[in-house]
């Protein structure tokens, strides 16, 4: 179940040719230039969980905190807030660290 997204598009967000990224098996629509983190936030997707199972979400959006980290195209600990979307990109949040 996905909770209601806590983020929405602003007026300035363009349409453009959509791109699809697959996050934990779920295809999510994205716009060119989006970061993976922004796409996930818009979709209400969950990010990593800490070792007690607690949910986490992007905190700094500038690459410092690693709360947005996920396995992107097989590379673990990739900061999704720094990563622009690419068609067919796969993102796994349930990495064991």
């Amino acid at each position: 179940m996905t909770p209601d997204p806590a983020w929405r598009p602003t007026r300035r967000r363009p349409g453009g040719t959509p791109v699809t990224v697959v996050v934990d098996g779920r295809p999510l629509p994205a716009a060119p230039g989006d970061t993976v983190a922004a796409v996930m936030m818009l979709a209400g997707a969950s990010f990593r969980r800490d070792r007690d199972g607690g949910p986490r979400a992007p905190l700094c959006n500038l690459g410092a905190c690693f709360e947005c980290a996920a396995t992107v195209d097989g590379r673990p600990l990739t900061r999704t807030c720094l990563t622009p979307v690419r068609e067919g990109m796969t993102v796994e949040t349930r990495e064991r660290r």
Binding site: R8, A38, F47, D52, P55, P58, L59, N61, E67, R97
Partner: protein
């Protein structure tokens, strides 16, 4: 190929340095892990959806600087690459090897004769109960999500902290139709509005505060509650934030009375900035403690040379002082690099650059004094159960237990080794200030005496296989070797 100058960071400092150096004939490479130049203050939407760049009022030079940087074909630019460390090559004295990494491309090495650390700053982390809950976001994060990624929070927002950036973010959110419930400042009287007015009287006051004056008036008109001497003591909710608790601070910086609850879906935190000094640390540059300038800053001489040969620093890592100052230092650093490498720099050019730095520094000092974080008071916000190290899930109680068990621990590095705080993927950037506060409180010693976390290559997590590229003995072919990394 060997560059004359490698610049890490394409903010105001890095851009100005690169252009000044290239103007003097240096071959310059600029590396930034963001996708575009501008740094944190001028973070831009992706090129595919770019509209004309409108810098915040007062930074009239920004558009010109960015345009010049973007269109300069002399510069080699590497966006999306993170600098993960630098090494000296014994076989090539006077040459530094900067290791850079990009997901999908792996690790490469850039050789350069001078290195400029222009890595900027990030929001100062402050630990308190519930700060790991989704819904809590740093002020810079909220700002850049709206401004560069075009997404806005749904539901009511509370902003809390101690830095005027909060006002800018509150204004940005309201313009997007977001409901801002309250903006809470930890400072007491003078109230933010009075502060802003007072600063307006300072000649050449920092522009951000000029803007803030109008914003305060607007917020008050829209019925947003603006509170002073108020801190957030807890973020609460099941899987997401639903409520924040705000408490009054007394004159000694201690919370008084019961905390009041405010329903909110998002909490935006802005306590100021921490300089990004990890690359400087990895290189062994001396740091010094300067609380009002962000904490640990990179020591340098008046030519911006660090304690490590061939390594210069400009912008926030030399002490947080804002965009005007960062740009001025960048220009000076570019000229210094040129002069050191034997390119003629006329004395008047130097003198003008030095004057610009001094002028910007004067104004920065006023702001620093007014908004210096009360680290002791902020440190007290962490309760025993509060996670100080978010990555490794180390609580304040864990740290206190370590400290009680090992009475000889007197520095943050020893504490890190004994209880793992600071060993996670963020490499301590988000817990160093919290760990230092706990240590200082437990030992009753000044926070600056606890030292700083050491940084080692790689300063960002890099897959193990990629690191082999750095080992000269591993095999004959080092991926990327001495080459410059391919463009984006």
């Amino acid at each position: 190929m060997t560059f004359d100058l490698a610049v890490v960071g394409a903010g105001p400092a890095g851009m100005a340095a690169a252009l000044a150096a290239a103007d003097r004939g240096l071959r310059v490479v600029v590396v930034d892990e963001q996708q575009r130049a501008g740094g944190q203050i001028f973070r831009r939407p992706p090129p595919s959806r770019d509209t004309a760049f409108r810098p915040s009022a007062g930074y009239a030079w920004a558009a010109g600087l960015i345009r010049r940087f973007d269109s300069d074909t002399r510069l080699t630019k590497r966006f999306g690459w993170s600098a993960v460390g630098a090494l000296y090559d014994d076989d090539r004295p006077g040459v530094l090897e900067l290791a850079v990494d990009r997901p999908g491309d792996g690790l490469r090495v850039i050789a350069a004769r001078r290195l400029l650390i222009a890595t900027g700053a990030y929001d100062l982390p402050v630990a308190f109960p519930g700060w790991t809950l989704p819904g809590v976001v740093m002020a810079g994060g909220a700002q850049t999500l709206v401004k560069a990624q075009h997404i806005a929070p749904v539901g009511d927002v509370v902003l809390a902290g101690a830095h005027p950036l909060l006002l800018l973010v509150a204004d940005k959110l309201m313009r997007e139709g977001v409901t801002v419930r309250e903006v809470a400042f930890a400072q007491g009287v003078p109230k933010p509005a009075e502060l802003v007015r007072a600063l307006g009287a300072v000649p050449g006051h920092v522009r951000m505060l000029a803007e803030a004056g109008g914003i305060v008036a607007g917020l008050v008109r829209s019925g947003v509650r603006l509170s002073t001497r108020t801190v957030v003591t807890a973020a609460e909710g099941a899987d997401r934030l639903s409520r924040v608790r705000l408490a009054r601070l007394d004159r000694s910086g201690r919370t008084t009375g019961p905390a009041r609850a405010v329903e909110a879906a998002h909490l935006v935190l802005g306590y100021g900035f921490s300089p990004s000094t990890d690359l400087a640390r990895q290189l062994g540059c001396d740091l010094r403690w300067a609380s009002a300038r962000g904490g640990w800053v990179v020591a340098h001489d008046e030519r911006l040379r660090t304690s490590v040969p061939h390594v210069l620093v400009a912008g926030e890592p030399s002490g947080v002082a804002g965009a005007d100052h960062a740009r001025a230092q960048g220009t000076l650093a570019g000229l210094v690099a040129a002069a050191e490498l034997g390119h003629p720099v006329p004395a008047p050019a130097f003198a003008a650059a030095r004057r610009a730095v001094r002028r910007a520094a004067r104004f920065a000092t006023v702001v620093q004094r007014l908004f210096a974080p009360d680290r002791e008071a902020l440190g007290r916000l962490a309760t025993p159960d509060t996670l100080i190290c978010r990555c490794e899930a180390v609580t304040r109680a864990d740290l206190d237990a370590c400290l009680a068990a090992s009475p000889f621990i007197s520095g943050v590095n020893a504490l890190k080794l004994s209880c793992r705080a600071g060993m996670g993927p963020c490499q301590g950037r988000y817990c160093e200030s919290g760990v230092a506060s706990v240590l200082a409180a437990a030992r009753g010693r000044h926070i600056g005496l606890g030292g700083s976390f050491a940084a080692h290559l790689p300063i960002r997590p890099v897959p193990l296989g990629d690191l082999r590229a750095l080992d000269p003995d591993a095999s004959g072919d080092r991926p990327g070797g001495d080459e410059t990394p391919p463009g984006p």
